[in-house]
């Protein structure tokens, strides 16, 4: 039996090595504790400049800034921006008006029910609603692109109304004048 276990061990380890980046915690036969290359050094990373890792200014990503809020949620079968999100959209419009070199990609999303392609068109309506508001508030057409991810990129994957309401959403992604950013 010991011999059998050892040979299974060897084969399993060999197969695991062939896989595409198997997560370390799932390696069924990993003989030693596996660690990421940069973990366990005990040094906290502090960044002092006002640009984050995506190359965007801090005011777009700092959790304390309203501009770090990038999601607008919609009711079932609704494609208009609810009153509670008007200040958020206005804040993004203000930033884009003051920073003409910045662009946004608006991604519309839907819940999981129904045809993938029809949902793609419904998600487009949500992204378009945000785009229309931004344009009305003075943002230039060439700063904005509205697209849809349909039901393909749910942020929540259970078949419950609570989950579905999180997926009826439009997200705002930024790109700076240097071309660096989130899309």
């Amino acid at each position: 039996m010991n011999k059998l276990i050892v040979s299974l061990f060897a084969i399993a380890a060999l197969l695991a090595g062939c896989g595409n980046n198997p997560p370390a915690d799932q390696g069924p036969a990993a003989p030693v504790e596996s660690r990421g290359a940069d973990s366990g050094t005990g040094v906290a990373k502090v960044t002092v400049d006002n640009v984050d890792s995506s190359g965007l200014p801090r005011e777009l990503t700092d959790p304390k800034s309203i501009l770090s809020k990038r999601s607008i949620y919609f009711d079932l079968d609704k494609y208009d921006i609810k009153d509670e999100y008007k200040d958020l959209v206005a804040a993004h419009a203000k930033f884009l008006n003051a920073n003409r070199g910045f662009k946004v990609l608006l991604q519309g999303n839907t819940d999981e029910r129904g045809s993938r392609e029809y949902n793609l068109s419904l998600g487009q309506k949500r992204a378009d609603a945000v785009k229309k508001s931004l344009i009305l508030l003075g943002v230039k057409e060439d700063q904005v692109e509205s697209v849809s991810l349909g039901k393909e990129k749910p942020s929540c994957t259970e078949s419950t109304e609570d989950c579905w309401s999180k997926n009826r959403r439009a997200d705002i992604l930024y790109k700076g004048p240097s071309g660096k950013g989130e899309f």
């Binding site: 069924p28 392609e117 029809y118 793609l120 487009q124 697209v147």
Partner: protein, 423 residues
Amino acid sequence: MSAISRRLFLGFALLLAGAASAQLSIEITGAGANRIPVAIADFAGDAGLARALTSVIRGDLERSGLFRLVDTSGAALNESSAIDFVDWKDRGADAIAAGSLGTAPDGRLEARFRLHDVNKQVTLGGAAYVTSTAQLRAAGHRIADAIYEKLTGEKGIFSTRIAYVVKSAGRYELQIADADGQNAQPALVSKEPIISPTWSPDGSRVAYVSFENKKPIIFVHSLATGKRQVVANFKGSNSAPAWSPDGSRLAIVLTKDGNSQIYTVAADGSGVQRLTTSPAIDTEPRWAADGSALYFTSDRGGSPQIYRASADGSGAQRVTFDGSYNVSPRPAPDGKTLAYITRREGRFQLAVMDVASRQVQVLTDSHKDESPSFAPNGRMILIATEMGGRGVLSAVSSDGRIKQRLSISAGDVREPAWGPFLR
């Protein structure tokens, strides 16, 4: 067994399952009412190869749901054997096929067979196919197609291929497999979703929508070379490709001018023309096989319904009226029926409509059916559905009687597209 060795065992089994996960497995969950009893004698020749060939032929015919395999034990036959028709009638066979795996004059492997009508006591025909060990399954599918066509009068689909998308832990694969789920090969691997694959009429290319650039873009992908061409990457969303019957153009959905509307574009991405002009969503275009009409989904009447227009998009007429959600139209190859997805009491199910009489039949009792795709002979419809919380494919005969389930051990299978007849 100690806990550690049990864990190892489990781990090993999981790894094996992972290694085998590219293969679809097919389970028959319903069969036709009047199945033709057919005997497929063990092919003569090299024992191992001949057994493999025989089992491909038998598997194809049995899975079709149209045949019942008659026991052939004790029979040692090949394509030139005289057939004892009385004996085979006693065994309950209406037809018998016998053959062998031999060597062609040029030295290559050759699969030969002959098919006989037991009741009429005549030979229905036969053929020989040059093959190889690697191509043995293909030869089996060819023979099964020939037997199927002789006995049913319609072309077989055993030599066709299917495309589908497998989603597993942050990874999407567009796979191409034989119609029996074997021989699956990835054509595209991506971290982002891939949807709406659709075969060019000649079977050499697949058009699809990829989200690899954070938005939907349409590609045409040549399967043999892996060469990919961007066909539509306009501002906004680019989706829902459908080939014209002659393979020269694609109907596509763009939002570059506002709401989702149907356009056409040449297969090389040139010459975009707008087809529909409505203030609503127009999507999921599909040309009828003869090119005479264009079906699509639109919510211009307040709810998503299927419309039929001229091939140029003009003169749209509403086709579906039952219920408030009818989408994903797929005209059958003969144009007589239309498959689509209908929502009934919150369940999304496959339905077919007789185009002339407008009679509708719901074919499934599942609740998350999506993306129907006709086999090129119109006999079966492949759909994506959900079983036990996992995406699986299901093939349903267009009369609803025969049902097969195709699942994959590790991951969700979705977005099926049945390829054309092999040329």
